[in-house]
Amino acid sequence: MSKNILKICIGTPCHLMGAANLLESVEKFDCKLRQKIELKTSHCIDNCCDQAPVAEFNGKVYQNLNPEKLYKIIRENIK
């Protein structure tokens, strides 16, 4: 089973806009889902800080996130 890679930006703007909440929400995913995801953090993804917080899931960048949006994205795109 190939792992799905989730990268969350923890640069200053993303942090201020709630990156910590995103990280926390991922830890709260149910076990089955959480196991399929490899969680990483990063400094600045794709230089789009004005659209913070930003995350990258399986190579695609998503902006302006919140925990609900992130969950939806992961649900829809998980391999």
């Binding site: 640069g11 942090h15 910590a20 990280l23 990483k40 400094h43 600045c44 800080c49 913070a52």
Partner: protein, 384 residues
């Protein structure tokens, strides 16, 4: 080899009290260090005010370099005397150590100092004399490279009363504990003080029966710290800065996510970004070979600044595993600090509408430098 005199103290208030009746003042001058310890009679706020008063007067007079006799008689004449008990409200110990390692210690009404030399604790050779009707002990000696000196308030020598022991530890008992703890690790003074505080607190059964303070002093090598924060204005300086930080002598900190990315690229090293939040306001730290600490930029620096503002010389640096606490600890543990500051503006921050004082890196670093100078650290800043 350059040596510096380092000192740490901790004061523990009597159980149930908010403030400690012991006061410590440490003054660092270019060529000497002055340490003053005063213990107010009783405990609580009254004792705190009296000991603060005494310590402040003493350190103020000592700083002005008046003759010692004059200082002593001024202090003794001004020290309030308890009407009921007929004794002075506060005890006083002070010591002055100069560049030639010559140490002078004066004690009034307080337990004698503990000198750790050649793996054992000894009593100093005192000369006793009387001034203003007070018995005063004075010791003069050369403080050696490997020596460690401990000053305590009487709360320490009385440790155990009403707890584990009938009559308290006494001088010998305290000497024994200090010897045991210091022998185990002679280099880490800060840690030893913390351990000793725990030991004495245990003798009291974790309910200190009196305020107690312990100060430790020793010599150590000078420590250097280098900090790189912010990308340079000119992009061609990236590699220059990366080389400068990796070749610098001493410990190294990189502050700023973008800066860390530049360093990783220029030095061709892996950057491992952390996941763990120890403090929700401070983004996680990262890891890179050869760099002691990598933190986020602005928020961490702001927190560092506010922690430095609260710091009093001699205190044991802040605990905590988050980036800002680690940063502050490294700053406080070093003697000379060199900042390499890049002034490039992070476009993304502009879109956030940050308050002005939070947003400008150069300002925060200047303020940090100012705080470091206040506690007598050597600071150098290079702008790029």
């Amino acid at each position: 080899m350059e040596l510096v005199f380092e000192e740490f103290y901790r004061s523990i208030p009597k159980a149930g009290e908010e403030v400690c009746g012991d006061s410590v003042e440490i003054i660092k001058k270019r060529n000497k260090t002055i340490v003053v310890l005063s213990d107010g009679l009783g405990s609580g706020i009254k004792a705190n005010i009296l000991s603060t008063l005494t310590a402040k007067i003493a350190s103020g007079l000592l700083e002005k370099e008046l003759p010692l006799k004059e200082i002593l008689s001024t202090i003794l004449a001004t020290l309030p005397v308890c009407e009921v008990r007929g004794i002075a409200y506060a005890t006083l110990v002070f010591l002055i150590i100069d560049q030639n390692q010559q140490l002078r210690l004066i004690e009034i009404d307080s337990p004698s100092a503990f000198l750790f030399r050649n793996k054992q604790v000894q009593k100093l050779d005192y000369r006793e004399f009387e001034l203003e009707g007070k018995k005063i002990r004075e010791a003069n000696f050369k403080f050696q490279r490997q020596d460690q000196l401990f000053l305590v308030s009487d709360g320490v020598t009385h440790a155990g009363i009403g707890g584990l022991l009938n009559f308290g530890l006494g001088w010998e008992g305290v000497a024994c504990e200090i010897e045991r703890v210091v022998k185990r690790s002679q280099t880490d003074l800060k840690n030893n003080i913390n351990k000793l505080v725990k030991v004495f607190n245990t003798f009291y059964g974790d309910q200190a029966g009196d305020d107690f303070t312990i100060i430790g002093m020793k010599y150590r090598r000078k420590r250097k710290l280098n900090i790189w924060s912010g990308p340079p204005l000119k992009k061609e300086n990236d590699s220059l800065l990366a080389r400068k930080i990796s070749e610098a002598e001493g410990k190294k900190i990189i502050s700023g996510g973008t800066t860390a990315q530049i360093a990783a690229r220029e030095l061709n090293r892996d950057l491992e970004v952390g996941l763990k939040y120890y403090d929700r306001d401070i983004p996680p730290i990262s890891k890179m070979d050869g760099i002691e600490l990598l933190t986020e930029g602005l928020l961490t620096l702001n927190r560092v600044l506010s922690m430095l503002k609260k710091y009093k010389p001699g205190q044991i640096p802040v605990e905590g595993k988050d980036g800002a606490s680690r940063f502050t600890r490294l700053l406080l543990e070093s003697d000379s600090v060199k900042f390499l500051v890049g002034r490039a503006v992070n476009e993304s921050h502009q879109s956030l509408n940050l308050p002005i004082n939070l947003g400008i890196r150069s300002q925060i670093i200047s303020q940090i430098a100012e705080q470091l100078r206040r506690i007598k650290k050597k600071v150098e800043i290079e702008w790029f």
